[in-house]
Structure formats: C-alpha cells, structure tokens
Amino acid sequence: MGIGTVTPFLDLREREEGFLHLLPGRVTELLGVPGTGLTRLGLRLLAAPSLVGPVVALDTRGWISPEAAWETGVTPENLVIVRCDQPQIWPKVTAALLEGVRALYAEVPVGAKDQDLRRLAALARARKVAVAMRPIGSGLPSGVAHLRLRALGVTWEGADQGHGQLRRRRLVLEASGKGAAGVSRRFEVEDEGSDVVRVVSHVVVGETRRAVG
C-alpha cells in the first residue's frame, strides 16, 4: 500500500489554464465592460487554432486591431477580420462563418435575439466550431455558453504618475458554467503583451490531502 499526496493548488491551476482554451463545439462567453482586456483575451483564444487553419474575428464596431492578436500568438496570415456593423444581418453572417471556420471570436451586438443566439450555439455544436462570444450589451441567454468568463477587475503595472509605460495587466476572472463543473472559480491572468499568458490562481489551499492507495 502506498501513500501519496495531492496538492490541490496545482490541480486548480491546470484547470484554470484549461479555461483559456477554446473547445470544439463549445461557446465560451467573455463578459465584462470594454477596457478590461477581454478583446485581447478573446483574440488570444484564437492563437492555437490559427496554427492549423484560418480563424475569424467578427467585429461589430470596426475597432478590432490585428496587431494585438499577432502579439498574443495568432498566425497573421490565418487571421481574417469580418466587420459587420448591421445587427440585423449579424446572425446570418455568424451562421455563414460557423459553417466553415474552425474557430471564431465574435462580438455580439446589442439587441441580438436570444432565439438567434441559441440557434448559433446549436450550429457551433453541430459543426464542432470553437467559439468565443463577447456580448457588447448584456450577457448571453442561459444555455448558450458552455463556459462563462466574467471580468471582475483589471489592474495595470508599469505606468506611474507620468513615468514608465503600461507593461503588465492583471485581469481577475470568474469562471462559471458547465465548463467550470458548475462551480464559480476566480483566478488571475497576467499578460505582458507577448503570447505568454500566465494564470495565477487566487484559490490557494495550503493543506494537503492524503490519498489512500
């Protein structure tokens, strides 16, 4: 009989890093006000799929900059930006993209209908498309997102009363939904502008458990 120990801290950290990967056929919702860093995070989620084929960022405001995506590791020649500023055709455009692309980051315009969003989620499931949705207004209706990442706050390092420059961002996220096993978890994401994003767990459990084998 052997005796082993398990550190929950490591286990949690691996799980939280898993939140920052898109899953085929699943919708990840990025919820938070503009300025918290969710656009950059959404583009970062396209980095891995962009290694094997074209990925799309659906831009409803015409403001998404590919430069930020390149910095996070998205392959430049595989990134296509689709600009759709007409909310009435947004569901059609999204559906057209879901029919063929493998990974999509989509801003959801204000006033998008729940029914359309549910249909699009079903289409993403059927087509095995990895989707990150960023609602510009309120959140997605229930049942659409497999995982919800809500931005709780952002802090910047580097700038100091006129000196220095913005260098590092710490984004506090709360993961919830089926993708988080139904339990809300808070963690931090550190971003220094490169494609390396570090996950820092807030949930530090000092004790160890004994496993019986």
Binding site: G100, V154, A159
Partner: protein
C-alpha cells in the same frame, strides 16, 4: 501565341492593360521600361502617359475563341492555357501532314488568314518538346516565321532566367539565382539538383526541371469515367448570370469529387450541348493544379465566349467537365496544415463576404508607424495583399510601445479628459466620469509639418475600468485606442 487587341483602347494613345500586374502594353509603354508581370503601381509610375485599362479575361477569351477554333480544324485536342496561348500535341498531326515544318507553316498560314479578320491579332508559332519549351519557342519567333526547335535542351539552355518567371511566379528566387551568378537556364541546369532542392525546396526543384528540359512532372493516371461531372438543364441556359452560376457549381462539384480521390487536375475538358446545335468541347490547361476559383473562371470564360459568339444556339442544355492529367500536386501540405478545413473556411468567408460586402472581410499585414492606426496595412480577403507603405522592420523611434491596444478606432475619436495643472484627473466614459488612477506620458509625436500634420502628445490613462491611449493635439483630447 496570339496577341490580343482591345477594341475599347484609344487608337492613337499608348495603352497599359493591368489586373494587379501588367498583362499587356503597347510598344511605347514597353519602351518606357514597363515589362509584363510588373506590379501595376510601378508600371503606372514608369508610363504615366499611358491609358490604363483593366484586364477582362472573359472578353479576351471570347475574342480568342475563333483562333482556337481555326487551329482545332487543323489539329484536334487543342489545350487553352490562357486567352492568347494554346498548346497543341502534334505527334499525330505531324505524321498526317508530313513533318513539323509543314505543320507549323500550315498553322502560320491559317493564322495569317485570321489576322485580317480578328482585330489586333498577331500569331507566333513555336514547335518544341514539352509545353515550356514550346511556349518560349513561340515567344522568341517572329510573326510569319514559325520557330521549329530541333534541339530543345540547347534552346532552353540559352534562355534567360526571366523565362522562369511565368512558370514559377517567384521573383525573389530568380533574383537570388542572378545574385549567385546564374543568368541563363543552362547555368541553372548545370547546378546539382540535390543542392537546389535542399536550398530552395520545391520551387528550386521545379526551376531545375524546367531548365533541364524535363518540364512539369505530371503523374498521369487512368481516369475513371465517374470523375467527370455533368448537369442537364430542362430550360436551356441563355442568360450569362445563369451560365456563371452553373459553371461555378459544376466546377466546385468536380473538384470536391477529385479531392476525395486524392487527385488534382492539370487539364480539363469543357463540353456543352446546345439546345439546337452541335456539342462543343474545349480543353484548358494549367501549369498548377486547378483550384476552385481558377477552374470556375475558366469554365465561365469559355461559356461566355460561346454564348456571346452565338456558338450555342438555343442555349446550353447540358454542361460536362471532365478532368485530365491528374496528379497529386497541390496535396503537399505543411505538417500542421489542414487543407480540407482551409477550403471550408474559404467557402464560409466567401458567403460572409457576400453578406457584408468586399470591404467587410479583411486581412491585415504589419507595417511601420508610430500610431496603432498606422501599423496595419489592410487588404480585402481573397485579393492580393496591398503593398506596405512603411517598412515594419525599420526603426520607428517614438512608436507606441507594446502591448498594443486591442481596439483601435479607424480615426481618432473625441474624448473628454479633465486636467489639473497638466495632470489628467478624470476621463468621461459614456455618461460617467472615471478618475484617472495613474498615467504615463506625455510622449511627443512630431507631425510631418510639410504635410499639414500637427504635433501631438500621447498619454496612457489607467482607470478602474481599463486603460486608454489618448492623443492630445491643439488642446483637445482624442481616443486612439482601448487596451481592451
């Protein structure tokens, strides 16, 4: 090889015909230093006096069709490479007519007869072993004097390296060869093939094959009959729109079927049956395996040529496309590439483009600049990327440092910022004022005064809900980016 004229060109003025590169030019324009294949912008700079016309391959195909038909009367199985260039396998015809010279002269005479009928025509005829050598035999012949090459290897070895440009579409590779002291195809053929393959990969290998007179390698296979696709129309198609739609659908179907079999066509036969007339067939060839777009274009050009010239009386009642010269070229993918997903993605993007318009589906390339707005060169998806206006690898002192803002408005947006003795204190976001927690800057941005640009100061403002890149010019603040 047939030089096509443009009926809409002004008769007295020099003319430049372009798509994104030069595809045709009159003598005066060529004398100014313009060469075929040169980028459009460069050609326009060299010949500002020329009238610029956009290439219309469909119209060219229609005007070239009588020439193809005339050759087909003499020799069957004509292969159209592009409007203006046909390849004809002549081994059978040589036996029938009694020799290569006799046959070449016969074709030349037939072409000379057509010169009087088809405006702008001038025929160049060449005979050699293989499509590449024959194409350059024709290109180096004089009008009225066919160039029959007996020593194909010797002929190719004397050609300048520029002869490879059309086949390889790799200007940088050719420039590198020149830099290494290789100026003719003979020089290139004398280099060890393994060394070229190791150093330059597939393009180097192809260049060596062409220079050695081996031409394009095509792995011929027995073509199962069921790989051909056809469709019949209860109501014969007469409108060009309907024909275009049918051409595209059938071309896509053919390539989908071929892809499933793991092969790609270099030649296709397009056959139509007219509602009231004889069936017509034409063969098109491509050096590279046909893509969906390339095949759709050729089918469309050919059908348009037949429809507009009245060659399909009563409309098209049946359309058939059959592949030939199947090879596995074009299936050499990178380690991580997934061609199927790429093709599906391209279809999806084409549908999205139809919904949002061509300016709504974009790709960016990095370029130099100090502001985030300047650092991306946008081009429409599916079109050749635009030239970078500024070199991204050059030093850009004073450029806004990374991380870059993820949201960049195309133009600076007005922003309300409250200042206290030159220090930003509050910023208005929507309807509320957010206190500035910290900031960096100002960083001076000196404008090009000679171009009317203003000097400005940049600030990075950090609030509790995020950070913003702000530009202050002439006492007013503007939003240049959101670090979202």
């Amino acid at each position: 090889m047939w030089s096509l004229g443009r009926p809409d060109a002004p008769s007295a003025d020099p003319v430049l015909i372009v798509d994104d590169r030069v595809t045709g030019a009159s003598k005066e324009v060529l004398a100014a230093g313009v060469t075929l294949g040169m980028p459009r912008r460069e050609a326009e700079a060299l010949a500002p006096f020329a009238t610029v016309l956009i290439r219309d391959p469909g119209e060219e195909s229609r005007r070239f069709d009588p020439v193809v038909e005339a050759i087909e009367v003499l020799i069957p199985r004509v292969e159209v490479v592009s409007p203006g260039l046909v390849l004809v396998p002549i081994s059978g015809a040589v036996r029938f007519y009694g020799g290569e010279d006799t046959l070449a002269e016969l074709v030349e005479r037939e072409m000379a007869r057509l010169v009087g009928q088809v405006r702008g025509g001038q025929a160049l005829v060449g005979v050699a072993d293989g499509p590449f050598a024959a194409r350059w035999a024709a290109a180096t012949s004089d009008a009225g004097r066919p160039n029959v090459v007996n020593d194909t290897i010797g002929f190719i070895s004397r050609l300048d390296l520029a002869a490879l440009r059309e086949s390889l579409n790799a200007d940088e590779l050719i420039d590198t060869f020149r830099w290494l002291g290789v100026s003719t195809l003979g020089d290139l053929a004398r280099l060890p093939r393994e060394a070229l393959a190791t150093r330059f990969g597939n393009p180097g290998l192809l260049a060596h094959r062409l220079a050695s007179g081996e031409d394009r390698f095509v792995e011929s296979r027995e073509i199962p009959a069921d790989l051909a696709v056809d469709t019949s129309f209860e109501e014969p198609l007469e409108s060009l729109d309907a024909v275009a739609f049918a051409a595209r659908a059938l071309a896509e179907r053919l390539l989908r079927g071929l892809r499933a079999s793991g092969v790609a066509p270099h030649r296709v036969s397009i056959l139509v049956e007219a509602a009231a007339g004889e069936p017509r067939e034409r063969i098109w060839r491509s050096a590279d395996p046909f893509t969906e777009k390339a095949l759709s274009d050729r089918v469309w050009w050919q059908l348009r040529a037949w429809v507009e010239s009245g060659g399909v009386p009563g409309g098209i009642s049946r359309l058939r496309i059959a592949p030939a010269d199947l090879s596995d070229e074009g299936r050499q993918l990178g380690l991580l590439q997934d061609e199927t997903s790429r093709i599906e993605a391209e279809r999806a993007l084409a549908r999205a483009q139809a919904l949002v318009g061509p300016d709504g589906v974009l790709q960016g390339r990095a370029q130099g600049g100090r502001m985030p707005q300047e650092r991306v060169a946008w081009s429409r998806w599916g079109e050749p990327p635009v030239d970078q206006e500024r070199d991204p690898s050059a030093p850009w002192p004073g450029a806004t440092p990374s991380p870059s803002p993820a949201l960049v408005p195309p133009r600076l947006q007005s922003l309300e910022v409250e200042w206290d003795a030159g220090i930003p204190t509050r910023v208005r976001l929507g309807t509320r004022w957010e206190p500035v927690l910290t900031w960096s800057g100002p960083w001076r941005l000196s404008g090009r005064w000679w171009a009317g640009e203003r000097d400005a100061d940049r600030y990075q403002l950090v609030t509790s809900v995020g950070a913003f890149l702000c530009v202050v010019a002439e006492g007013r603040a503007y939003l240049a980016g959101v670090y979202d």
